[in-house]
Amino acid sequence: MSLDLIFGTLAQLLTSPAAMWMMILGTMIGIFFGAVPGLGGRLAIAVTIPFVFGKEMIPGAVFLLSMHAVTGTAGQISSIMFGVPGTGDDAATIVDGYPMAQKGEAGIALGASLTASGIGGILGAVVLAALIPVIEPIVLKFSPAEFFFLALLGITFVAFVSGAAIFKGIVVGFYGMMLAFVGMDPQTGIARYSEDFLFLWDGLDLITAVLALFAVPEMIHLGVKGGAISAFSKDFADTGVRAQWKGVVETFRHMWLVFRSSMIGAFIGILPGLGGSAAAWICYGHAVQSCKPPQNFGRGDVRGVIAPESATNSKEGGSLLPTLFFGVPGSSGMAILLGAFLILGIQPGPMMLTQHLDLVWILIWALVISNIAAVVVLLFITRWVAMLTFLRGGIMIPFVLVVVVFGVLLAKGQWENLIMLSILSIIGYGLLKYDWPRPPFAIGIVLGTIAEESLHKAWALWRWDFFTRPLSIVLMGMIVATIAYAIYRGFIDNKKQEAR
């Protein structure tokens, strides 16, 4: 890996008007989606994928990644000022952020959280960059057989850690995979599950499926839940740039905590499925354990804001690692991002190292620059962004639904996909309502095609021997161990519940 490549890609990004424009646009849209409670990064990507359909690879990927990277940074504003988490990842920030706002220290809390978040994002990108040489020999050892098992392991892992029953998670992942099999089979030319419906012969439109499973259910849920936030004073005293600057200084005073939390967050990001909420709580817990005196936490201690915010943003860099090099997304947001990358023609796996390392570096730089841009912009416009928290669901819902319908029409121009959208949305809402984890679906539908391709290649190369390859055995063992542990844990939890 040469310095030419590292800094050449930075220069390429900075001197490309298209990429820079898309990065700025992505950052602004990301701030919007992050700041409005109930929207979030996953929805942002789902809704905007159709707009990058057919675009060039680099500007499209930079747009999506920048947007995804900054939603967390903007999401903390409502957590701190009103105790309303933008996404689940911000729940830990409330514990100290909201009491700080109540004490008149909202500006300090915001300045600290924005800076910690920005530094966390940059450190996450650094971890990703530093691990490329480490991961390279491992990735290059993987053959099609291992990529098939990796797809199954990805679903199992995400199902395991998504909180609900593991069977539900695996079923949803398998459901996504089954939908990925719709269309012309590349081996036999049989039109699977598509009969005479020509629009299905190319496969079920990924954009339609993602919007149906993630965007429409979220909007219905937002409408059912209500969620208008109006009981707060809209007087944003103590949030000026000067007050926030004190928070920036506080973050640099606790740089060692920022560094530790960012490292923990980045490594949590590498593990598929653990997600931002886990990263935030683990780092909050770490801050409580390691900082003195612990009694201050919960009463408005700035360290309680810094630790979770560093972690949630650094996780993004970490989770790009399995996403780009193994095709196993670290989170549902990354799974949708991976789907978008595939649409843009970016194929995850060893080729990212052998042929597209420049793209990897551009993405790393995009993470760094968009994080810096988001922090700088937010430090000046926080009070206006905070107003987005009051945007009523009743007004947001029709706009998002219209964008969803528009996106479906834009993607392939086939009206039949609107009918697929309606049918799949009902299932998507059922999954949300009855606590079926949806992240494995995104992984299943994105990886289904890759898994099938890998399986056929592996079968052609090794026949039954592909099950007995050492790495295949290790991966199969990991799948079985994950399921066995989940069942054991479920059994123990049940026993505890009964005892209570």
């Binding site: 514990v95 089954m178 007004i395």
Partner: protein, 211 residues
Amino acid sequence: MSANPGSGERPTPSVLKALCHGRTLFTLLMFAIFAFMVWIASTYTWPANFLPFVIGIPGIVLTLLQVVLDVRDFRKTEGIVDPRTEFERYMDDVTKNTGGKVQMELKEGTQLQTLVEDTTDMTKSRNKREMILFGYFFLLVILVLLFGFWIGYPIFMALFLHYYAKESWRLTAQLTIGSWVAMYIVLVIVLEQILFEGHITKFVIDNWLSD
């Protein structure tokens, strides 16, 4: 209904009632999807049917297992209401995640807005709202299919904003017209996107308005 000796006065719901509950019905729907897809796959030749079998058959087994778990959980927990509010549950999460070391201190009388919603006795109104919202969504799809995006979407937007969101006609008109004009300028004039024109609109244009 039989009485459950372990649960005091609470009678255990019947298996039939558990099977008819929405949660179990949804699992049965997932089972039906897998069963149907595997059945269809059985009509394909190898290797087109290979992965649908490898994924679909375990899917059937797991959904059936989930049905059993749903029924068991329903019979165990039906009628038992978690007395904690959302806020208390959140505080329990804080305790769990920090090993009980953190007590959150808020001003007296403050509640965390989105964390206080008590959902226990809202089921009926929730179901109604779900139906209405899905109704609006399907209306949008139907309007777009019949009249095309540029005619269907403002009709939907106006109806939703005024009748569902209870906005005034003035704001409704401002938002609808404003968004329509903005989208039209960006998408049609700048980006030159051509969207589906709708079956009825197309029929009218083809038969009555074209030369």
